[in-house]
Protein backbone atom coordinates (compact mmCIF):
# COMPACT_ATOMS: atom_id res chain seq x y z
CA UNK A 1 0.00 0.00 0.00
CA UNK A 2 2.77 2.37 0.89
CA UNK A 3 4.48 1.84 -2.43
CA UNK A 4 1.24 2.51 -4.26
CA UNK A 5 0.89 5.79 -2.46
CA UNK A 6 4.35 6.89 -3.34
CA UNK A 7 4.02 9.01 -6.41
CA UNK A 8 6.45 8.53 -9.24
CA UNK A 9 5.94 12.19 -9.98
CA UNK A 10 8.89 14.30 -10.95
CA UNK A 11 7.95 17.23 -8.70
CA UNK A 12 10.25 17.01 -5.69
CA UNK A 13 7.68 18.43 -3.27
CA UNK A 14 5.31 15.56 -4.00
CA UNK A 15 7.70 12.82 -3.04
CA UNK A 16 6.45 12.87 0.52
CA UNK A 17 2.97 12.11 1.78
CA UNK A 18 0.54 15.01 1.71
CA UNK A 19 -0.14 14.69 5.43
CA UNK A 20 3.55 14.70 6.28
CA UNK A 21 4.04 17.74 4.11
CA UNK A 22 1.13 19.45 5.83
CA UNK A 23 2.38 18.63 9.32
CA UNK A 24 5.86 19.80 8.41
CA UNK A 25 4.76 23.20 7.18
CA UNK A 26 5.48 26.16 9.35
CA UNK A 27 2.63 27.04 11.69
CA UNK A 28 1.11 23.56 11.67
CA UNK A 29 3.05 22.31 14.68
CA UNK A 30 -0.13 21.93 16.76
CA UNK A 31 -1.65 19.30 14.44
CA UNK A 32 -1.17 15.58 14.85
CA UNK A 33 -1.36 13.10 12.00
CA UNK A 34 -4.81 11.71 11.33
CA UNK A 35 -5.00 8.04 10.31
CA UNK A 36 -5.77 7.56 6.64
CA UNK A 37 -8.41 4.98 7.62
CA UNK A 38 -10.18 7.63 9.66
CA UNK A 39 -10.20 10.10 6.77
CA UNK A 40 -11.40 7.58 4.20
CA UNK A 41 -14.32 6.48 6.37
CA UNK A 42 -17.09 8.66 4.99
CA UNK A 43 -19.05 8.40 8.22
CA UNK A 44 -16.41 10.54 9.93
CA UNK A 45 -16.88 13.26 7.36
CA UNK A 46 -20.62 13.65 7.93
CA UNK A 47 -21.63 17.26 7.56
CA UNK A 48 -18.26 18.52 6.43
CA UNK A 49 -19.46 18.97 2.86
CA UNK A 50 -21.19 22.16 3.99
CA UNK A 51 -17.76 23.73 4.41
CA UNK A 52 -15.95 22.43 1.30
CA UNK A 53 -16.95 21.40 -2.23
CA UNK A 54 -15.71 18.30 -4.04
CA UNK A 55 -15.04 16.51 -0.78
CA UNK A 56 -14.15 13.17 -2.45
CA UNK A 57 -11.45 14.77 -4.52
CA UNK A 58 -10.07 16.54 -1.46
CA UNK A 59 -9.99 13.27 0.50
CA UNK A 60 -8.09 11.71 -2.39
CA UNK A 61 -5.59 14.56 -2.35
CA UNK A 62 -5.08 14.27 1.40
CA UNK A 63 -4.58 10.52 1.22
CA UNK A 64 -2.27 10.81 -1.84
CA UNK A 65 -4.58 8.81 -4.07
CA UNK A 66 -4.57 11.60 -6.58
CA UNK A 67 -2.57 14.69 -7.36
CA UNK A 68 -3.93 18.10 -8.06
CA UNK A 69 -3.96 18.01 -11.84
CA UNK A 70 -1.27 20.08 -13.52
CA UNK A 71 -3.78 21.07 -16.18
CA UNK A 72 -5.87 23.08 -13.77
CA UNK A 73 -5.36 26.81 -13.63
CA UNK A 74 -3.07 28.23 -10.97
CA UNK A 75 -6.07 29.66 -9.17
CA UNK A 76 -8.01 26.39 -9.04
CA UNK A 77 -4.98 24.51 -7.81
CA UNK A 78 -4.39 26.98 -5.02
CA UNK A 79 -8.04 26.78 -4.05
CA UNK A 80 -7.97 22.98 -4.01
CA UNK A 81 -4.82 23.03 -1.92
CA UNK A 82 -6.40 25.43 0.59
CA UNK A 83 -9.59 23.40 0.73
CA UNK A 84 -7.61 20.21 1.31
CA UNK A 85 -5.82 21.83 4.23
CA UNK A 86 -9.10 23.15 5.56
CA UNK A 87 -10.77 19.76 5.30
CA UNK A 88 -7.85 18.04 6.96
CA UNK A 89 -8.01 20.50 9.84
CA UNK A 90 -11.73 19.98 10.29
CA UNK A 91 -11.29 16.21 10.29
CA UNK A 92 -8.47 16.74 12.77
CA UNK A 93 -10.89 18.38 15.23
CA UNK A 94 -13.04 15.24 15.13
CA UNK A 95 -10.14 12.84 15.18
CA UNK A 96 -8.43 14.23 18.28
CA UNK A 97 -11.39 13.40 20.48
CA UNK A 98 -11.26 9.73 19.48
CA UNK A 99 -9.15 7.35 21.53
CA UNK A 100 -6.40 7.11 18.92
CA UNK A 101 -6.33 10.85 18.41
CA UNK A 102 -6.19 11.48 22.14
CA UNK A 103 -3.21 9.16 22.42
CA UNK A 104 -1.37 11.09 19.73
CA UNK A 105 -2.22 14.40 21.35
CA UNK A 106 -1.03 13.07 24.69
CA UNK A 107 2.41 12.51 23.17
CA UNK A 108 2.38 16.09 21.97
CA UNK A 109 1.19 17.31 25.36
CA UNK A 110 3.99 15.44 27.07
CA UNK A 111 6.49 17.03 24.68
CA UNK A 112 4.87 20.39 25.43
CA UNK A 113 4.40 21.02 21.70
CA UNK A 114 1.70 23.53 22.58
CA UNK A 115 3.96 25.45 24.91
CA UNK A 116 3.89 26.14 28.61
CA UNK A 117 1.55 28.26 30.69
CA UNK A 118 3.05 31.75 30.98
CA UNK A 119 1.57 32.21 34.45
CA UNK A 120 4.34 32.18 37.05
CA UNK A 121 2.45 30.13 39.66
CA UNK A 122 1.56 27.43 37.13
CA UNK A 123 5.24 26.52 37.08
CA UNK A 124 5.44 25.62 33.39
CA UNK A 125 2.34 23.45 33.09
CA UNK A 126 2.01 22.28 29.46
CA UNK A 127 -0.92 23.73 27.55
CA UNK A 128 -3.59 22.19 25.32
CA UNK A 129 -5.15 23.80 22.24
CA UNK A 130 -8.81 24.68 22.43
CA UNK A 131 -11.30 26.43 20.21
CA UNK A 132 -13.92 28.88 21.40
CA UNK A 133 -16.36 27.70 18.76
CA UNK A 134 -16.86 24.52 16.77
CA UNK A 135 -17.82 26.52 13.70
CA UNK A 136 -14.83 27.48 11.59
CA UNK A 137 -13.84 31.11 11.01
CA UNK A 138 -15.21 32.35 14.31
CA UNK A 139 -12.24 32.53 16.67
CA UNK A 140 -8.59 31.61 16.52
CA UNK A 141 -7.06 28.83 18.61
CA UNK A 142 -6.46 29.43 22.32
CA UNK A 143 -4.39 27.46 24.76
CA UNK A 144 -5.89 25.92 27.86
CA UNK A 145 -3.89 25.50 31.05
CA UNK A 146 -5.20 22.66 33.23
CA UNK A 147 -3.52 24.15 36.28
CA UNK A 148 -5.13 27.60 36.39
CA UNK A 149 -8.03 26.50 34.13
CA UNK A 150 -7.76 29.59 32.01
CA UNK A 151 -7.08 30.21 28.34
CA UNK A 152 -4.17 32.08 26.81
CA UNK A 153 -3.22 33.40 23.42
CA UNK A 154 -0.52 31.46 21.60
CA UNK A 155 2.89 33.03 22.02
CA UNK A 156 3.79 32.98 18.37
CA UNK A 157 1.88 34.92 15.72
CA UNK A 158 1.98 32.00 13.29
CA UNK A 159 -0.24 30.07 15.68
CA UNK A 160 -2.55 32.93 16.52
CA UNK A 161 -3.98 32.79 13.00
CA UNK A 162 -4.97 29.11 13.34
CA UNK A 163 -8.70 28.53 13.52
CA UNK A 164 -9.96 27.29 16.87
CA UNK A 165 -12.45 24.99 15.17
CA UNK A 166 -9.49 22.86 14.00
CA UNK A 167 -9.22 21.66 17.60
CA UNK A 168 -12.74 22.08 18.84
CA UNK A 169 -14.23 23.28 22.10
CA UNK A 170 -14.38 19.88 23.77
CA UNK A 171 -10.85 18.68 23.25
CA UNK A 172 -9.24 19.59 26.62
CA UNK A 173 -12.23 18.29 28.60
CA UNK A 174 -12.20 15.05 26.59
CA UNK A 175 -8.46 14.79 27.05
CA UNK A 176 -8.69 14.87 30.83
CA UNK A 177 -11.65 12.49 30.83
CA UNK A 178 -9.47 10.04 28.92
CA UNK A 179 -6.30 10.64 30.93
CA UNK A 180 -7.37 11.55 34.47
CA UNK A 181 -3.86 10.73 35.65
CA UNK A 182 -2.59 13.76 33.74
CA UNK A 183 -4.78 16.26 35.60
CA UNK A 184 -2.31 18.43 37.48
CA UNK A 185 -2.87 19.51 41.05
CA UNK A 186 -3.69 23.18 41.24
CA UNK A 187 -1.41 25.79 42.69
CA UNK A 188 -3.27 28.07 45.07
CA UNK A 189 -0.66 30.81 45.08
CA UNK A 190 -2.09 34.19 44.30
CA UNK A 191 -0.24 37.39 43.67
CA UNK A 192 -1.06 40.63 45.45
CA UNK A 193 0.79 43.79 44.44
CA UNK A 194 2.71 45.49 47.21
CA UNK A 195 4.24 48.90 47.69
CA UNK A 196 7.25 48.92 50.02
CA UNK A 197 6.10 45.61 51.43
CA UNK A 198 2.54 46.72 52.13
CA UNK A 199 -0.25 45.09 50.17
CA UNK A 200 -2.44 47.49 48.23
CA UNK A 201 -5.74 47.50 50.02
CA UNK A 202 -8.28 47.00 47.22
CA UNK A 203 -6.21 44.25 45.64
CA UNK A 204 -5.65 42.56 48.97
CA UNK A 205 -9.38 42.69 49.60
CA UNK A 206 -10.12 41.04 46.29
CA UNK A 207 -7.46 38.42 47.02
CA UNK A 208 -9.07 37.71 50.39
CA UNK A 209 -12.47 37.36 48.77
CA UNK A 210 -11.08 35.00 46.16
CA UNK A 211 -9.40 32.91 48.83
CA UNK A 212 -12.73 32.82 50.62
CA UNK A 213 -14.34 31.44 47.46
CA UNK A 214 -11.62 28.81 47.34
CA UNK A 215 -12.19 27.91 51.00
CA UNK A 216 -15.88 27.55 50.31
CA UNK A 217 -15.16 25.22 47.42
CA UNK A 218 -12.88 23.18 49.64
CA UNK A 219 -15.56 23.08 52.33
CA UNK A 220 -18.05 21.81 49.74
CA UNK A 221 -15.61 19.12 48.63
CA UNK A 222 -14.98 18.13 52.25
CA UNK A 223 -18.68 17.82 52.88
CA UNK A 224 -18.92 15.31 50.08
CA UNK A 225 -15.79 13.52 51.18
CA UNK A 226 -13.86 14.27 48.01
CA UNK A 227 -10.10 14.30 48.54
CA UNK A 228 -8.29 17.44 47.39
CA UNK A 229 -4.80 17.36 48.84
CA UNK A 230 -1.68 17.80 46.77
CA UNK A 231 -1.31 14.10 45.93
CA UNK A 232 -4.77 13.70 44.46
CA UNK A 233 -5.39 14.58 40.85
CA UNK A 234 -7.05 17.94 40.63
CA UNK A 235 -6.22 18.65 44.26
CA UNK A 236 -4.73 21.82 45.68
CA UNK A 237 -1.10 22.48 46.42
CA UNK A 238 -1.12 24.69 49.49
CA UNK A 239 1.78 27.13 49.57
CA UNK A 240 4.56 26.81 52.04
CA UNK A 241 3.87 28.62 55.29
CA UNK A 242 3.66 32.27 54.42
CA UNK A 243 5.63 34.61 56.69
CA UNK A 244 2.66 37.01 56.45
CA UNK A 245 0.50 34.58 58.38
CA UNK A 246 2.80 34.40 61.36
CA UNK A 247 3.11 38.18 61.45
CA UNK A 248 -0.66 38.46 61.37
CA UNK A 249 -0.81 36.16 64.35
CA UNK A 250 1.88 38.05 66.18
CA UNK A 251 0.12 41.34 65.69
CA UNK A 252 -2.89 40.34 67.69
Amino acid sequence: MASAEYMSDSGSEYTEYWIDWFLGSRGNEYFCDVDVEYITDRFNLTGLNQYVDRISLLVDIITDRTQISENESEQTRARLEDNAKFLYALIHARYIITQRGLNKMMEKYKNADFGYCPRVFCKLTPLLPVGLSDTPKVASVKLYCPNCEDIYNPKSSRHSSLDGAFFGTSFPAMFFQAFPELIPSHSVDIYTPKIFGFQIHDYAKLTRWRLLQKDKLIARLDEQGIPHDRDTRGGFVEPRKDPDDSSKKGRR
Binding site: E149, R208, A219, Q224
Partner: protein, 265 residues
Protein backbone atom coordinates in the same frame (compact mmCIF):
# COMPACT_ATOMS: atom_id res chain seq x y z
CA UNK B 1 34.43 44.49 27.70
CA UNK B 2 33.79 46.25 24.49
CA UNK B 3 32.11 49.04 26.32
CA UNK B 4 35.02 49.70 28.64
CA UNK B 5 37.40 49.79 25.72
CA UNK B 6 35.30 52.37 24.04
CA UNK B 7 35.16 54.33 27.24
CA UNK B 8 38.77 55.30 26.87
CA UNK B 9 38.22 56.83 23.49
CA UNK B 10 35.16 58.56 24.87
CA UNK B 11 36.88 61.68 26.05
CA UNK B 12 38.05 62.74 22.61
CA UNK B 13 34.95 62.21 20.48
CA UNK B 14 31.27 62.59 21.26
CA UNK B 15 30.07 59.09 22.09
CA UNK B 16 26.97 57.62 23.62
CA UNK B 17 27.14 57.48 27.37
CA UNK B 18 27.56 54.13 29.12
CA UNK B 19 23.95 54.34 30.24
CA UNK B 20 22.44 54.78 26.81
CA UNK B 21 24.72 52.10 25.39
CA UNK B 22 23.71 49.70 28.12
CA UNK B 23 20.02 50.38 27.58
CA UNK B 24 20.27 49.89 23.84
CA UNK B 25 21.81 46.40 24.10
CA UNK B 26 19.53 43.74 22.60
CA UNK B 27 17.23 42.46 25.32
CA UNK B 28 17.71 45.50 27.55
CA UNK B 29 14.71 47.36 26.20
CA UNK B 30 12.90 47.03 29.54
CA UNK B 31 15.38 49.50 31.08
CA UNK B 32 14.90 53.23 31.00
CA UNK B 33 17.85 55.58 31.03
CA UNK B 34 18.44 56.78 34.55
CA UNK B 35 19.14 60.49 34.71
CA UNK B 36 22.81 61.12 35.59
CA UNK B 37 21.71 63.75 38.15
CA UNK B 38 19.86 61.01 40.01
CA UNK B 39 22.98 58.86 40.17
CA UNK B 40 25.22 61.76 41.13
CA UNK B 41 23.13 62.43 44.21
CA UNK B 42 24.72 60.23 46.85
CA UNK B 43 21.54 60.18 48.89
CA UNK B 44 19.86 58.09 46.20
CA UNK B 45 22.58 55.48 46.46
CA UNK B 46 22.32 54.95 50.22
CA UNK B 47 23.17 51.39 51.15
CA UNK B 48 24.20 50.26 47.69
CA UNK B 49 27.92 50.41 48.44
CA UNK B 50 27.56 47.43 50.76
CA UNK B 51 25.74 45.35 48.12
CA UNK B 52 27.81 46.04 45.05
CA UNK B 53 31.48 45.00 44.82
CA UNK B 54 33.90 47.52 43.26
CA UNK B 55 31.30 50.14 44.10
CA UNK B 56 33.46 53.22 43.38
CA UNK B 57 34.82 51.86 40.13
CA UNK B 58 31.37 50.69 39.01
CA UNK B 59 29.90 54.10 39.69
CA UNK B 60 32.67 55.72 37.64
CA UNK B 61 31.95 53.37 34.77
CA UNK B 62 28.24 54.21 34.81
CA UNK B 63 28.92 57.95 34.89
CA UNK B 64 31.66 57.70 32.23
CA UNK B 65 34.26 59.08 34.60
CA UNK B 66 37.95 58.26 34.33
CA UNK B 67 38.85 56.13 37.34
CA UNK B 68 41.23 57.85 39.76
CA UNK B 69 43.26 54.70 40.12
CA UNK B 70 43.45 52.71 36.85
CA UNK B 71 41.50 49.45 37.11
CA UNK B 72 43.62 46.32 37.00
CA UNK B 73 43.16 44.45 33.73
CA UNK B 74 42.10 41.32 35.59
CA UNK B 75 39.36 43.28 37.33
CA UNK B 76 37.88 44.92 34.25
CA UNK B 77 35.19 42.26 33.66
CA UNK B 78 34.34 42.25 37.37
CA UNK B 79 33.96 46.00 37.40
CA UNK B 80 31.81 45.86 34.28
CA UNK B 81 29.61 43.27 35.94
CA UNK B 82 29.42 45.34 39.10
CA UNK B 83 28.45 48.36 37.03
CA UNK B 84 25.54 46.43 35.53
CA UNK B 85 24.43 45.29 38.96
CA UNK B 86 24.72 48.79 40.38
CA UNK B 87 22.88 50.26 37.44
CA UNK B 88 20.05 47.77 37.89
CA UNK B 89 19.68 48.59 41.56
CA UNK B 90 19.75 52.33 40.89
CA UNK B 91 17.22 51.71 38.13
CA UNK B 92 14.84 50.04 40.60
CA UNK B 93 14.98 53.18 42.75
CA UNK B 94 14.83 55.60 39.87
CA UNK B 95 11.61 54.19 38.38
CA UNK B 96 9.84 54.97 41.65
CA UNK B 97 10.54 58.68 41.16
CA UNK B 98 8.30 60.93 39.14
CA UNK B 99 10.79 61.29 36.30
CA UNK B 100 11.36 57.53 36.33
CA UNK B 101 7.80 56.36 36.16
CA UNK B 102 7.01 58.84 33.43
CA UNK B 103 9.77 57.31 31.35
CA UNK B 104 8.40 53.85 32.18
CA UNK B 105 4.92 55.04 31.21
CA UNK B 106 6.24 55.86 27.74
CA UNK B 107 7.54 52.33 27.40
CA UNK B 108 4.27 50.99 28.78
CA UNK B 109 2.36 52.96 26.17
CA UNK B 110 4.51 51.50 23.40
CA UNK B 111 3.85 47.96 24.71
CA UNK B 112 7.57 47.40 25.26
CA UNK B 113 6.76 45.00 28.11
CA UNK B 114 4.25 43.11 26.01
CA UNK B 115 0.60 42.35 26.52
CA UNK B 116 -1.13 39.91 28.84
CA UNK B 117 -1.22 36.41 27.32
CA UNK B 118 -4.53 35.69 29.03
CA UNK B 119 -7.25 35.75 26.41
CA UNK B 120 -9.89 37.57 28.45
CA UNK B 121 -7.47 40.34 29.40
CA UNK B 122 -7.79 41.45 25.79
CA UNK B 123 -4.25 42.61 25.31
CA UNK B 124 -3.90 44.51 28.59
CA UNK B 125 -0.37 45.88 28.81
CA UNK B 126 2.02 44.31 31.28
CA UNK B 127 4.22 45.97 33.88
CA UNK B 128 7.64 44.57 34.80
CA UNK B 129 8.06 43.47 38.38
CA UNK B 130 10.44 41.65 40.65
CA UNK B 131 9.12 39.38 43.34
CA UNK B 132 12.15 40.12 45.49
CA UNK B 133 14.14 43.25 46.10
CA UNK B 134 17.34 41.26 46.59
CA UNK B 135 19.35 40.45 43.51
CA UNK B 136 20.12 36.96 42.34
CA UNK B 137 16.86 35.32 43.46
CA UNK B 138 14.55 35.55 40.50
CA UNK B 139 14.47 37.14 37.08
CA UNK B 140 11.97 39.75 35.97
CA UNK B 141 8.25 38.86 35.86
CA UNK B 142 5.40 40.77 34.26
CA UNK B 143 2.33 41.91 36.15
CA UNK B 144 -1.09 42.27 34.57
CA UNK B 145 -3.31 44.64 36.55
CA UNK B 146 -6.41 43.22 34.90
CA UNK B 147 -6.17 39.60 36.03
CA UNK B 148 -3.94 40.62 38.95
CA UNK B 149 -1.46 37.90 38.12
CA UNK B 150 2.18 37.58 37.12
CA UNK B 151 3.59 36.04 33.96
CA UNK B 152 6.89 35.02 32.47
CA UNK B 153 8.22 37.26 29.70
CA UNK B 154 7.35 35.81 26.32
CA UNK B 155 10.90 35.97 25.04
CA UNK B 156 13.86 34.23 26.60
CA UNK B 157 16.02 37.29 26.04
CA UNK B 158 14.49 38.84 29.15
CA UNK B 159 15.21 35.81 31.28
CA UNK B 160 18.61 37.09 32.35
CA UNK B 161 17.31 40.37 33.74
CA UNK B 162 17.13 40.33 37.50
CA UNK B 163 13.71 41.07 38.98
CA UNK B 164 15.33 43.27 41.61
CA UNK B 165 16.22 45.75 38.85
CA UNK B 166 12.54 46.66 38.79
CA UNK B 167 11.65 45.93 42.37
CA UNK B 168 8.55 44.78 44.16
CA UNK B 169 6.93 48.18 44.56
CA UNK B 170 7.00 49.53 41.04
CA UNK B 171 3.88 47.86 39.62
CA UNK B 172 1.71 48.82 42.59
CA UNK B 173 2.90 52.40 42.51
CA UNK B 174 2.48 52.59 38.77
CA UNK B 175 -1.16 51.52 38.72
CA UNK B 176 -1.94 53.94 41.52
CA UNK B 177 -0.20 56.77 39.70
CA UNK B 178 -2.15 56.23 36.51
CA UNK B 179 -5.82 55.59 37.41
CA UNK B 180 -6.50 55.19 33.71
CA UNK B 181 -5.02 51.69 33.97
CA UNK B 182 -7.52 50.61 36.61
CA UNK B 183 -10.31 52.08 34.55
CA UNK B 184 -9.22 49.99 31.57
CA UNK B 185 -9.19 46.91 33.80
CA UNK B 186 -12.71 47.57 35.00
CA UNK B 187 -13.91 47.39 31.42
CA UNK B 188 -12.39 43.95 30.93
CA UNK B 189 -13.18 42.23 34.19
CA UNK B 190 -16.30 40.50 33.03
CA UNK B 191 -15.35 37.24 31.38
CA UNK B 192 -14.11 33.96 32.66
CA UNK B 193 -13.39 30.76 30.81
CA UNK B 194 -15.31 27.62 31.56
CA UNK B 195 -14.28 24.30 30.13
CA UNK B 196 -17.08 22.39 28.49
CA UNK B 197 -17.47 18.92 27.04
CA UNK B 198 -19.84 18.89 24.06
CA UNK B 199 -21.48 21.96 25.50
CA UNK B 200 -21.90 20.52 29.00
CA UNK B 201 -20.19 21.98 32.03
CA UNK B 202 -18.19 19.66 34.25
CA UNK B 203 -19.12 19.29 37.88
CA UNK B 204 -16.61 20.60 40.41
CA UNK B 205 -16.76 17.24 42.19
CA UNK B 206 -14.94 15.63 39.27
CA UNK B 207 -11.17 15.76 39.40
CA UNK B 208 -11.19 17.47 36.03
CA UNK B 209 -13.95 19.83 37.11
CA UNK B 210 -13.63 23.55 37.65
CA UNK B 211 -11.47 24.00 40.72
CA UNK B 212 -9.84 27.31 39.92
CA UNK B 213 -12.81 29.51 39.22
CA UNK B 214 -12.06 31.59 42.30
CA UNK B 215 -8.74 32.68 40.82
CA UNK B 216 -10.34 35.01 38.29
CA UNK B 217 -13.68 35.55 39.99
CA UNK B 218 -14.99 39.03 40.77
CA UNK B 219 -17.97 39.73 43.03
CA UNK B 220 -21.05 40.26 40.92
CA UNK B 221 -24.27 39.31 42.65
CA UNK B 222 -25.63 41.21 45.64
CA UNK B 223 -24.65 38.45 48.10
CA UNK B 224 -21.17 38.26 46.64
CA UNK B 225 -20.68 41.99 46.99
CA UNK B 226 -21.86 41.84 50.60
CA UNK B 227 -19.43 39.05 51.23
CA UNK B 228 -16.72 40.98 49.44
CA UNK B 229 -17.27 43.91 51.79
CA UNK B 230 -16.74 41.60 54.75
CA UNK B 231 -13.29 40.85 53.38
CA UNK B 232 -12.30 44.46 53.98
CA UNK B 233 -9.66 43.68 56.60
CA UNK B 234 -9.51 39.92 57.07
CA UNK B 235 -11.07 36.69 56.00
CA UNK B 236 -14.50 36.58 57.63
CA UNK B 237 -15.12 33.62 59.86
CA UNK B 238 -18.15 32.24 58.14
CA UNK B 239 -20.75 29.71 59.12
CA UNK B 240 -19.79 27.39 56.27
CA UNK B 241 -16.71 26.46 58.21
CA UNK B 242 -18.36 25.63 61.51
CA UNK B 243 -19.28 22.04 60.80
CA UNK B 244 -16.01 21.22 59.10
CA UNK B 245 -12.97 20.94 61.29
CA UNK B 246 -10.29 21.96 58.92
CA UNK B 247 -7.45 23.69 60.61
CA UNK B 248 -4.54 22.78 58.39
CA UNK B 249 -5.59 25.41 55.92
CA UNK B 250 -3.69 28.68 55.83
CA UNK B 251 -6.34 31.40 55.87
CA UNK B 252 -8.72 29.61 58.16
CA UNK B 253 -5.92 28.56 60.44
CA UNK B 254 -4.84 32.07 61.28
CA UNK B 255 -8.40 33.20 61.90
CA UNK B 256 -9.27 30.18 64.01
CA UNK B 257 -6.10 30.18 66.03
CA UNK B 258 -6.64 33.86 66.75
CA UNK B 259 -10.07 32.99 68.06
CA UNK B 260 -8.58 30.25 70.20
CA UNK B 261 -5.96 32.57 71.56
CA UNK B 262 -8.61 35.06 72.49
CA UNK B 263 -10.56 32.39 74.33
CA UNK B 264 -7.50 31.39 76.28
CA UNK B 265 -6.96 34.96 77.33
Amino acid sequence: MNITNELESNSSEEMDSWISQYCSIFGHDYFVEVAPEFIEDDFNLTGLSSVVPFYREALDVILDLEPEVPIKVANVPLVEHAAQLLYGLIHARFILTKQGYHLMAEKYEQKVFGTCPRYYCEGMRLIPIGRYDQTGIETVRLYCPCCNDIYLPSSSRYLNIDGAFFGTSFAGLFIKMFPEIERQCQQRLNKQYELKLFGFRINERAASGPRMKWLRQVPRTKEEIEEFDKCEFELPQDDYREDTERDEHDGSESVMSIAQEEEEL
